[in-house]
Symmetry: C2
Subunit: 125 residues, 2 copies
DNA sequence: TATAATAACAGTAACAATTATCATTATTGA
DNA sequence: TCAATAATGATAATTGTTACTGTTATTATA
């Protein structure tokens, strides 16, 4: 079902997600919001994050065994810290031509691509 | 604990994984092997796949909410079919310099990278 | 080759992340 | 204002994975 009506919970989820620059999991977001909306439900957070990422309003990134969410829906790359498992933005310019170039190496049609760097963040070094 | 002893189960897992060119999940591998080894345990498959990927003998790829395994441990790229959720090899040449180049855009140290193309495979088109 | 140490096993329980269900509440258009 | 229904909170169910436990298989050494 597509997003149609408004709700305080949904607005709060979007606002929280866009105003922080880490890439929280549903539960991390839930815990942060729970303080301001004590009877927020974890299911509501999951439901909204999935609807919004289906919509293309936000981005879902599945790495390290959990789904992380990113308020920035434009394609960009990430780094996963292998120590703390946090996900960071990598502002490396997007390889605009890689999908076209890769076409010859694939049996099918490419619609998008993701690059994930694995490493250790400064905090963990 | 590192891999030391041999076992029929482990050998069968490696053989099956290396002789097929899709990238099965633990369960897919389990179901295929179960036919030849009826009392194989799913836990054994998981345990071995994790030990072998810790060793660097095989590769674990976490995409689409599940872990897929690849008998080819050399870095190479993949395509995830958004229809059937199967994972395919992409023989696109590895971008040897991208980690060095990305260094300036990251707060930390990069140790590896993955590229995943998302698309629709020929079978699903 | 027998044996002792222990890695690996099967089976199952536990776990964490996510999704589905359902009765109630909030939003929206008429 | 009110009816239709999307969205919610609470909780149950599901899924993918890991941990536990008693038993079996492998291996190095005697």
């Amino acid at each position: 079902m597509a997003v149609t009506k408004h709700s305080k919970q949904r607005d709060a989820i979007i606002e929280e997600l866009c105003h922080r620059h880490d890439h929280p999991t549903a539960e991390e977001l839930y815990l942060a919001l729970k303080m301001k909306m004590p009877n927020l439900s974890l299911g509501t957070v999951y439901r909204n994050l999935n609807m919004l990422s289906d919509d293309g309003t936000i981005q879902k990134i599945s790495v390290g065994g959990a789904d992380h969410f990113d308020g920035n829906a434009d394609n960009h790359y990430h780094m996963l810290c292998s120590e703390c498992k946090r996900l960071y933005d990598v502002t490396y310019p997007v390889l605009e031509d890689i999908e076209k170039k890769a076409h010859d190496f694939v049996d099918g049609r490419i619609t998008s691509h993701t690059i994930t760097f694995i490493g250790v963040c400064n905090g963990c070094l």
